[in-house]
Amino acid sequence: MNRFMLFIHKTGSPPWFYNFSGKLLPWTWGVFLVLLVAGLYLGLVKAPPDYLQGESARIMYIHVPSAYMSMMIYALMAVMGVIGLVWHVRMAEIMMISSAPIGAIFTAIALATGSLWGRPTWGTYWVWDARLTSELVLLFLYLGVIGLYAAYDEPRKAARAAALLALVGVVNLPIIHYSVTWWNTLHQPPSLTSEGSAIHPSMLVPLLIMVVAWKFFYISNLLVRTRLRLIEQDQRKRWVHHILSGADR
């Protein structure tokens, strides 16, 4: 067995994951904080205002990374859902359901900040255009996954039902992504494509730093939430008592 496969197998063990994630967490939170400070400084202090939108374009540094994370987390949830459904990997199920509230928060931030950006730019807080509506549907999908999981008493059954809903909802991701090109929307088309960027480096660099910072927030928060669910589900098991009463917390 090579090192990678050994790592994957070890990750499936709750006590090993709990200890490993505990050692990893200070580093992931640390990287997040450093990137956050750098991104905010460059975005709010150093970057120039947009030539057309003025200062309101600074909302971009939280709106765009949040919208990006809202879709990325949902895609990851679907992948973890498939792993849980097909191979019955408990850790994948726990990580899937632990991701849902984080994804919902990022979606809510994307919607709220987009709305606040829309007012000075479009003259309105909300329009029922394809991008905004499909992003709102994504928030409802996240809430649906969380609600469906909470409706079951047995965590494994709950995770399977939630994974199925997460899988069905994946159809919404290409709709969100391509909505601005498929339909005539008030929302602008993407500025970052595989062919290049329409954003000046002075604004692009802080934006990319914030995207990476949000990723580290997700990793850190996911680890914390997964650890919580592990001790919640295994609270009567020996390893939890051993860890909680021992020195290796």
Binding site: G54, S56, I105, T113, W117, S220, N221, V224, I231
Partner: protein, 51 residues
């Protein structure tokens, strides 16, 4: 139109939601750990008094 309230509002919303998202599981985890440890202590004391 001044853009400042919209920018400040956006960053405040993000700060509050992300702060709550980060803190809620930590507080929940601490509460659960305390509960498990107190239950463990109760069980040990009960076992000791029974024997």
């Amino acid at each position: 139109m001044s853009h400042t309230p919209f920018i400040v509002g956006s960053y405040l919303i993000a700060l509050v939601l992300l702060g709550w998202c980060a803190l809620a599981p930590v507080l929940q985890s601490n509460k659960l750990k305390r509960f498990i440890l107190s239950r463990q202590l109760f069980t040990e004391e009960k076992d000791a008094s029974d024997s």
